[in-house]
Symmetry: C2
Subunit: 405 residues, 2 copies
C-alpha cells in the first residue's frame, strides 16, 4: 500500500476553516487507499504568542520550560485536525512526538532527532487510522519534552517518512516550492521544479525558509523525495531528490540571511581564548559557522579567529554578549548589522570564476565584501545589512536571469 | 522536612502578574525549608476557549482528542510558573501528569486516578527543586493522555499529597474556603472553618464548586488534611479533615445544582430497558445518580425506573437523548429544567424531622418537590429550576441561620 507522510505548516492550519479544508483533502486521499501520517505545526502565530508570553515572565527562561511551553502549540493543532477528520467520517488518532517515537538528544530548543521508533504509528496505521503527529517535538532519553528548533516540523515529517519507509514526503506551506531567490526581494525570481539534496541543504542553511536544513539531511541519508507544495493552490511544486551529478551546473539560487553577526577574537593566547568562547556558546546551545582561524607565531603578527553567528533564533543574545565582553574585554569584538549573501548551485568550486566575477560586480556597485566562505555548493559573502537586497538583486540578475534556464 | 502540596486554580494563574505573585509566595516558602510540589490549572478561561474552538469543528469530538487538546492548558501554566520561579532565583521543574506518575484508567474526559507513582517528583524534590505539576491530567495504561474531568486538578493535588505522604495539601482559589451556601445566592452564607471529609464529599457531589468530590475521597482514604484558601487574600480558610463523630450535628450547608435532568423509564420489560439505557449512557461515559427502581409484577401496576443526570459537563447530551428517544420511543421521558437542592450535615438520618419539616416549609411556599433522595449526610430534593434560589434561601434561613452556630 502507498504510504504518504504529509506536513502542514502554521499558515496551512491557521484557523478552523483551513483545518476543515485540509481534512477534506486527507479524507479523499485516505479513501483512495493510502496509508497516511500527517505532521502538523502550531496554528498560525501560536508559537510567536507563546514566546511573547514567556518573555513577559523572563528574558532568559529555562530552555527545558520553553520546550514544555512551545510543544503545546502542535498538540492543539493535532487534536483539532483529528476532530475535523472524524467529522469527515475518517478514523484518526493524534500522537505527540513522544508517542510517535521521535527520540532526541537533550539539547532543549534545538534538539537533534537521534532515532525514530514508529511502532505506534505503524500499529495505528495497520488499524486503518490516519495518524496525526505533532511536529517540532520529541522526547529525550531523560523523558523530557524537547523541541527541534524553528522549522523542526519538516524534520519530524522527513525523519518519520524515512522510518516508515514512506513512498514520499509532502511538505505543504503557503508557497509552491523553492525559488531562485526570495520573491519578496527579487521580482523575477524563478520557480525551481527540481533541486538536488545538497543544493537544498545549502539553501536552507543559508537562509531559505521553505525547508529546514536538518530535514533535507534526513531525506538525503534515506533518499526520500520531498515534494514542496502550496496547501491551498495546487499546481506547481518543487521536488527535492537525488539528481545525477552534472545534471545542473552553475548558480541556481541567490539566498540571503539577515540578523547575522561576526565575532572576532584577537589575543596572544588565541587557542585558549577561542576554546573558552566556543565552550560558553555551546553551553548556551549556540551554533557557530564559517570559522576563520589564523594562528601564526611569527613575531609581530597578531593571531586571530572569527566566526559567524546567526542571531535571530537565539534567546538572550545580548545577555550572552555582555558576559563574553565582560570576560574577554578588548580581546573580543562583535561586528553587528551584517547580512550573508549566498550563491547556491552545483559545481561552484570547479573554478574561481564565479567568485571573482561576483566580487567584481559588487565592487563596481560600491558594495564592500566583509568576509567570505565557500563550499562545493555555495559561495557566501558577508555584506552590510543595508546592502543585502541590492546585492541579491545584482547577483540574481547576473547569475540566474542570464543562465538561459 | 515538611512536605507541602499546593494547588492553584484557573483564576489564581489567570495572567502573568498573578503567576509572578504566586511565584514570590512559593519562593518564600521554599526558602523557609519546605519540600514543595505545586499543582496548577489552566490559565483563566483557557479551557473554555479550547472547548469552544473544538465545538467549531465538531459537536461531538472524540473524547481522546478532547483530552489531547485540553491537557495543553495546564502545560502552558506549569512552564510559565517555572519560568517565574527561576526569575525569583528558585530552581524549579515542570512535570506533566504523565511525568509525575498520575496513572489513570482510560475513561477519557472523566478518568479515575488508579495509582500515583511519584518517583520523579521525589527525585526532583531531593535535588532541591520545586516541582510544578500539570493538574487535571494523567496517562492511561495505553499511554494515552487522559483528563480527570472539570475540577480534576484538586484530585491531582490530593492524590499526589497522599502518594508523597505530604504534611498538608493547600487548595488555593478565589474563595477563602467553604460556605454554608453559595454566597452569590444567599447573602448571609456562613464561612465554615472546619468540615469533615464525608460532609465535604456530599457538598461537592451536590454541586459545591470549591473542591472536587473525588479529591475529597482521596484525602479521606489517606487522611490528608485539605486547607482551602483564597490565593490573594490570606486570612480565613476551611480545613477539611477527619472530625470526631458527633462533633457537629445538623445541617451545615445548603447546596444546589442546576442543569439537572431526570430520566424516567416505563415499560413491561423494565429490567432490559433500564440495562440498555444505562449501558448506552456508560458507553458515552455519563454517570447516573439517585436511581429509583420500582419493579413489581402485580397486575395492572406499571413498572418504572428513574435516575438523575447532571448535564452541564456532558458533551453532546442532546444528540445522546435523541438516540435514546429514537430507540425507546414512549418508554423514555426526560424531565428537563430541574434543579437539585441538598441539605448537608452530620447525622441527618438520625430521624426524619429535618426531611419532614423541609417538605412542609417548601410546600408552604408553593414549591413542589418532584423527587427526593437521602443519605446519612444529605437530603436532596428535586425542584423546578426556576424555584431553586428561593428554595436555597428558605432552607438556609431555617436550618443554618437558626442553628445558633
Amino acid at each position: 500500500m502507498t504510504c504518504i507522510v504529509q506536513k502542514y505548516g502554521g499558515s496551512s492550519v491557521a484557523d478552523v476553516g483551513r483545518l476543515r479544508k485540509i481534512a477534506r483533502g486527507i479524507a479523499d486521499l485516505k479513501r483512495s487507499g493510502a496509508d497516511i501520517a500527517v505532521v502538523v505545526s502550531a496554528m498560525g502565530k501560536t508559537t510567536d504568542q507563546l514566546v511573547a508570553m514567556s518573555r513577559e515572565i523572563s528574558s532568559l527562561p529555562p530552555r527545558r520550560e520553553m520546550d514544555m511551553l512551545l510543544s503545546t502549540g502542535e498538540r492543539i493543532t493535532m487534536a483539532m485536525l483529528c476532530m475535523a477528520l472524524h467529522e469527515q467520517g475518517i478514523d484518526a488518532v493524534s500522537l505527540t512526538g513522544s508517542q510517535a517515537g521521535i527520540i532526541t538528544n537533550d539539547r532543549h530548543n534545538d534538539a537533534q532527532v537521534i532515532e525514530v521508533r514508529p511502532f505506534r504509528v505503524q500499529d495505528e496505521m495497520a488499524n486503518g487510522k490516519v495518524v496525526i503527529i505533532g511536529g517540532f517535538q520529541g522526547v529525550s532519553y531523560k523523558r523530557d519534552i524537547t523541541t527541534l528548533g524553528r522549522g523542526g516540523s519538516d524534520t519530524t515529517a522527513v525523519a518519520l517518512a524515512a522510518a516508515l519507509n514512506a513512498d514520499r514526503c509532502e511538505i505543504y506551506s503557503d508557497v509552491d516550492g523553492v525559488y531562485s531567490a526570495d520573491p519578496a526581494v527579487v521580482a523575477d525570481a524563478r520557480h525551481l521544479p527540481e533541486v538536488s539534496f545538497p543544493v537544498m541543504q545549502e539553501m536552507s542553511t543559508a537562509g531559505a525558509k521553505v525547508l529546514h536544513a536538518s530535514a533535507v539531511q534526513f531525506a538525503k541519508e534515506k533518499n526520500i523525495a520531498i515534494y514542496a507544495r502550496a496547501t491551498f493552490s495546487p499546481g506547481r511544486e518543487t521536488i527535492v531528490r537525488q539528481l545525477s551529478p552534472g545534471a545542473v551546473v552553475g548558480v541556481q539560487a541567490v539566498v540571503s540571511e539577515k540578523q547575522v553577526e561576526r565575532v572576532r577574537l584577537q589575543a596572544a593566547d588565541i587557542h585558549g581564548c577561542f576554546k573558552n568562547t566556543v565552550d560558553y556558546l555551546e553551553k548556551n546551545q549556540i551554533s557557530i559557522k564559517e570559522v576563520n582561524f589564523i594562528d601564526t607565531t611569527a613575531a609581530g603578527e597578531q593571531t586571530s579567529a572569527s566566526f559567524i553567528v546567526s542571531t535571530k533564533d537565539i534567546y538572550g543574545w545580548e545577555r550572552i554578549k555582555s558576559v563574553l565582553l565582560n570576560d574577554l574585554k578588548e580581546k573580543i569584538v562583535f561586528d553587528t548589522n551584517l547580512a550573508a549573501l549566498s550563491l547556491i548551485g552545483e559545481g561552484l568550486n570547479r573554478n574561481n570564476l564565479t567568485l571573482l566575477e561576483t566580487l567584481g560586480l559588487l565592487g563596481d556597485n560600491r558594495i564592500t565584501v566583509l568576509g567570505m566562505a565557500t563550499t562545493a555548493f555555495r559561495i557566501s559573502l558577508l555584506v552590510s545589512a543595508d546592502q543585502i537586497e541590492k546585492s541579491v538583486e545584482l547577483c540574481h540578475t547576473r547569475w540566474v536571469d542570464n543562465s538561459g534556464g
